[in-house]
């Protein structure tokens, strides 16, 4: 009877530790997933996860992060403890710098003060619920980008308004296609083809004067600038796998944009439009 009691106590103790470990695991994984989805670099994600785990006094932490998944192993360090490993598949990403900023603050606060794991989980949940700016504001932002780029590339005032319209329409289309969960290539292709067709239409009716500046302005929104630079940075930092996968993402987006523009122009000339 006494023996049983001791046994159950030991068992209880092990379970308690495991629960603590599991919570740390979930916390670290969620933080890492959020950062990865919001467009952070690989080394920063790995660094944050390691710091959160070390702050919870877990001696053995090993992280392997790629843009499509995070692998995390934890060990209590004693002889008879089990090792915990989690795999988190990451699907889809949208750049959200507010989230990166908030998680940055959170990890600094979590490691420097003795914030409990439960309140940490609550904070992470709050951060993951942050919504982007309202749709109309985002469309206005996209229109700003394309219209001012049209001016940078020697467009006239007329082209400013044409690019404003084309940018707003193509961004609205991309939001709509996002809702339908179409893939990367189809989205880039459709949006750029639509932007080019709008530009060609405005140009042929005489509303726009410089076709190139309107098209360049409106495809600027969809360029994979972040994927491109992060790919090179990851590769040079030694994360070859992530670098390759981001690089392929960037290449696919570039090809989709170029083919969208190309197909739209070809179609326009085939249908007898002037260009």
């Amino acid at each position: 009877m006494i023996q049983l009691n001791v046994k159950s106590k030991v068992l209880f103790g092990v379970i308690m530790i495991n629960q603590m470990q599991k919570k740390v695991l979930i916390l670290a994984l969620h933080a890492g997933e959020l950062m990865m989805k919001s467009g952070a670099e690989i080394y920063r994600v790995e660094d944050t996860i390691t710091r959160i785990c070390k702050a919870c006094k877990i001696p053995y932490v090993e992280v392997f992060a790629t843009p499509t998944g995070i692998f995390l192993s934890l060990d209590e360090g004693s002889v008879d403890s089990d090792m915990h490993t989690f795999i988190k598949r990451i699907k889809g990403s949208s750049i959200d710098l507010e989230k990166i900023s908030q998680i940055n603050h959170f990890s600094r606060e979590f490691t420097s003060t003795d914030l409990s794991i439960d309140s940490g989980l609550a904070i992470i949940k709050d951060i993951s619920n942050i919504k982007p700016y309202p749709l109309l504001v985002r469309i206005l932002g996209a229109a700003l980008v394309s219209s001012f780029f049209a001016l940078i590339f020697q467009g006239a005032i007329k082209d400013f308004f044409c690019a404003f319209f084309a940018g707003a329409c193509s961004y609205a289309l991309s939001v709509f296609l996002d809702k339908l969960e179409t893939n990367l290539f189809i989205r880039g292709f459709c949006c750029c083809a639509a932007a080019t067709l709008i530009a060609l239409g405005l140009f042929s009716t005489g509303l726009g004067s410089d076709l190139n500046s309107i098209i360049i302005g409106s495809i600027m929104i969809f360029l994979p600038g972040v994927a491109l630079t992060n790919a090179v940075r990851d590769t040079l930092a030694g994360d070859m796998l992530s670098g390759a996968s981001k690089g392929i993402e960037a290449v696919i987006i570039v090809v989709s944009i170029a083919s969208g523009v190309g197909v739209a122009i070809k179609l326009w000339t085939l249908l007898g439009g002037v260009f």
Binding site: E41, L97, I152, M220, L236, V261
Partner: protein, 148 residues
């Protein structure tokens, strides 16, 4: 020059809205992007190649972002991502596409290579500045502890 600054400022603000930069940092991010573009146009006007101009512009973006990230105690990425986007060679990509459509292989190869080099130079510039700033802050900290 002043007009280039204003145009680049406005378009970087647009990118900041798309990427959900925190509200208090939107104007700062716009300033960073405009400064990077100004450097780029200055180098282009003074006659250097577009790859070098891109490199210089990205260096400026990275340095200013680093300074701001220390001043505001926030991640440098918030300023870097919208800041470099005006420098990404979108126009060159478009011209490469036009050359492909015209069947002009020589033109395609020459503009395409330049586009790739420009994109690479942005990434390398960010990396160089990040490494140097890390090195400086590490030696500075070591020096401080040594002096104490």
């Amino acid at each position: 020059m002043i007009w280039a600054f204003i145009y680049a400022f406005c378009s970087t603000v647009g990118f900041s809205i798309l990427f959900h930069v925190p509200k208090k940092h939107i104007a700062t991010a716009g300033f960073v992007g405009a400064l990077g573009w100004l450097t780029y146009t200055y180098f282009i006007v003074s006659g250097s190649g577009s790859v070098l101009a891109c490199f210089a512009g990205s260096c400026i973006v990275a340095i200013i972002s680093d300074v701001f990230s220390r001043a505001f105690k926030d991640a440098a990425t918030i300023f870097i991502i919208p800041g470099i986007l005006p420098l990404v060679p979108g126009a060159n990509m478009y011209y490469t596409m036009l050359a492909i459509l015209e069947g002009n292989v020589t033109e395609t190869a020459s503009i395409g290579t330049e586009t790739l080099l420009m994109a690479g130079s942005i990434a390398v510039a960010l990396l160089v500045v990040a490494s140097i700033s890390k090195l400086l802050s590490l030696t500075g900290r070591k020096l401080l502890t040594y002096l104490k």
